[in-house]
């Protein structure tokens, strides 16, 4: 196996068998079409410390500690190619931090493995193992290799933590991850890289990711993003997450962000929730849910769900209210699916009673969790003094409060 550590500082022998310099750097070309980036040549430092680019065609043999040229150095050299797709392994890859998308973590490039793929020299793998470190130090023994297992990553599965986002295929792969996973990665990066990554995502995805980030890091990120960009992301967030975030921020910053949010019904809802104490049912609840009237038919309700579904993170239940907003009952999706299309809602809905408990807006967090656990509820309606439906608490609101760091 041939590694970058074998080639870096290797002696360069020319066609007349003379050592003419050492290898200073290896250049690769990044190409989205290729699985393994091609090596396009090396930078050779001659004895007077001048550097020359030698294209890969003029390299006859790649060996550990020595490469051979097909001709004399000054005939083999060419002008170094430039461009965004040319990456220096010495400056941009080795020793840098990378996001390992297969393992969902941040690691460092300890060494790079080269190999021939369809006759051409390529960068075939990234070594992140302690073995790579030992190889670079020059420690090699069977004992150590037994303890430290090799660990290689593929180029397409990593993203180099550099400001140049195009650097590796991994940049594109990141958006395919679940927002919660992206959030975990961002939590492991420093604030700067985290906010750079967040900004490179589509606003809707970025909003989902930001929701998932743990509170104290979220605070730092929002600060680093600035109010304008944060407001843009926040307009894509659901009401209860929005409230969580606003409550997290210091007063001045949150007022400023609220003033930048587009003036729609959402902001009214946010303000309404913020009137309640964070640790009561009112502070926990969301005001995003689907309501229906008891006279509607099953078919009508299903049509309504289809129409507004894209506005909601998830739809488990439909809440039934009278024209004044008074809470009458709840219908689960399951009830809707198994019911006959022409049945009216009032025939299939569950009415509030002992089996279908509701919450008062002032109830404490503890009593909310106890009630939901006791009755195995996925969600529960929150009512005000006049028994009007003002919000819904779902089990994930509870989980988020219980395990803020997950």
């Amino acid at each position: 196996m041939l590694f970058f550590s074998n080639i870096r500082d290797a002696s360069v022998r020319d066609s007349v068998e003379e050592i003419v310099g050492t290898v200073f750097d290896v250049l690769i070309k990044v190409d989205a079409e290729r699985e393994f980036p091609l090596i396009i040549g090396v930078l050779v430092k001659d004895k007077r410390s001048y550097k020359f680019f030698v294209p890969v065609e003029n390299i006859e043999n790649w060996g550990v500690g020595e490469i051979e040229l097909t001709r004399k150095l000054y005939e083999a050299k060419a002008s170094a190619p430039l461009g965004e797709s040319i990456v220096s392994l010495r400056d941009n890859v080795i020793d840098k931090q990378i996001v390992d998308l297969s393992g969902m973590r941040i690691v460092r490039v300890n060494d790079l493995q080269f190999g021939r793929v369809q006759q051409s020299m390529c960068l075939v793998a990234i070594d992140i193992s302690t073995r790579g470190i030992l190889r670079r130090i020059g420690l090699r023994s069977p004992f150590l290799s037994r303890i430290f297992k090799p660990h290689f990553l593929e180029w397409k599965n990593v993203k180099i933590m550099d400001n140049r986002l195009y650097l590796s295929a991994g940049a594109k792969e990141i958006v395919k991850l679940h927002p919660a996973d992206i959030a975990n990665l961002i939590e492991k990066m420093n604030v700067y890289h985290g906010s750079t990554l967040l900004q490179s995502l589509e606003p809707a995805v970025a909003a989902r990711v930001l929701e998932e980030i743990q509170p104290d890091i979220k605070k730092l990120l929002v600060k680093s993003l600035g109010t304008e960009r944060t407001a843009a992301l926040m307009s894509k967030m659901s009401v209860d997450e929005l409230v969580d975030l606003i409550q997290l921020l210091p007063g001045k910053a949150s007022r400023e962000i609220i003033s930048r949010l587009p003036l729609d019904s959402k902001i009214q809802k946010v303000k309404r929730i913020m009137e309640y104490d964070e640790d009561t049912a009112g502070g926990l609840m969301t005001t995003e849910y689907i309501t229906a009237q008891k006279e509607m038919t099953v078919e009508q309700v299903i049509a309504e769900i289809k129409r507004v579904s894209h506005l909601h993170h998830s739809v488990q239940f439909v809440y039934i209210t009278d024209p004044d907003g008074k809470f009458l009952g709840v219908v689960s999706l399951r009830n809707l699916i198994v019911a006959i299309k022409t049945q009216t809602i009032k025939d299939i809905m569950r009415k509030p009673n002992k089996k279908l408990p509701t919450l008062h807006v002032d109830q404490t967090f503890e009593s909310v969790t106890r009630l939901m656990t006791k009755y195995n509820l996925l969600s529960v309606a929150v009512l005000d003094k006049e028994k009007k439906l003002i919000g819904v608490i779902t089990v994930d609101d509870i989980m988020r409060r219980l395990v803020p760091t997950a």
Partner: protein
Amino acid sequence: MYRLHNFMTNKVATNGATGTHTTKSRLWHKVLFFLSVIGPGIIAANADNDAGGISTYSVVGAHFGLKMLWVLLLVTISLAITQEMGVRIGLVTRQGLGGVIREHFGVKWTTFAMVTMLIANLGTVTAEFAGVASAFDVFGVTKYLSVPLAALVVWFVLYKGSFKTTQKIFLVFSAFYIVYIINGFIIKPDFGEAIVSLVKPTIEWTTPFLLTMIALIGTTITPWGQFFIQSYVVDKGLEIKHYKAEKLEVFAGALITDIVSFFIIISTAATLYKYGIKITDAKDAAMALRPLAGDFAQMLFSFGLFCASMLGAFILPVATAYALCEAFGWEYGFDTNWENGKAFYSTILVSIIVPAILVLIPGVPLVKIMIFSQDINGILLPIILIFVMLIVNNKKIMGEHTNKPIGNVIAWLTIAGIIGATVVLVISSVLGFN
């Protein structure tokens, strides 16, 4: 990002960075901006006065009177300059010192730097446990009980994670140093003489003097402090626009910590040096507080020593593990599981267990351990500072934010001074001047 800042007190009370152009006076705005970045310099400086710190400053005053005050003045300036460089590197590179060394010097030099840091930090944690042992020794509690217990508490708090609160408690308690300042006024020392000693270099070419002097430098400017300040800046997501406020804060931190050191030295000089009492255990050092606290002095001193020791014992293992993991690309943070975070958890365990065992060796002189560990820090410091200097003067890394000549002169003089003192120390102990 899930790094030191989660473990260090977050003093950000006001969000000044979001800025407003409409309201209030500009002065108020400036104050808010300053408050928003306050923290690292003052915390790092406060943690400098740990077990090693208290005992070193006590010994400096008790054994050599005011003779070393001039070193303290120079060290204060050097501390401010080196911490400022750490802040600047952090702001520009947005990486910890370990990470920057790794990316620019490669694996071999990184290993060298990290081994250096590890040895220095193990030494410092050893001093912290020696501090715990000495503090309890005053009350007749054997170290075979107090040290293992302290080690367990440190591990448990770090692992189970109410670290932030615990650390805040100890940070508040370590404000006990103020008693030295009050004490310093009560004993009515000759401030005139003290001021003269601050600027008039006196040196004795003896092994004890040189050893104590290197410890004085090594306890004030530390390898870990250099790593700490840089990580802190990075983890708080500070940017170059915070530089001025941050610089001010670091300078203030250096000044505050050394004012405390100054008063510890003049307190012990006026109480112990005057009567020729040498410090061999915590009881002796506590006598310096008698003018203020009377019979209560021993208790007060032990309490302060204990808090300072525990604060260091909490911060150092974590700081060590973070620096190592960042440099070598290992996973870290208390949210990783044991399998992935093997290196992280083992580093923390090693840097708790090894120092605790060293302190438990029967018959080791506790005060000497505390001083000696600061000597190790002092002797190893130039290695880390040279890395810092090479980084901070590299245009490729720092761009327009490389050092000004004045910073370079002071930092190189510091490095040269420590190396010079070490060389003289070695020669003098080999030739046996005494």
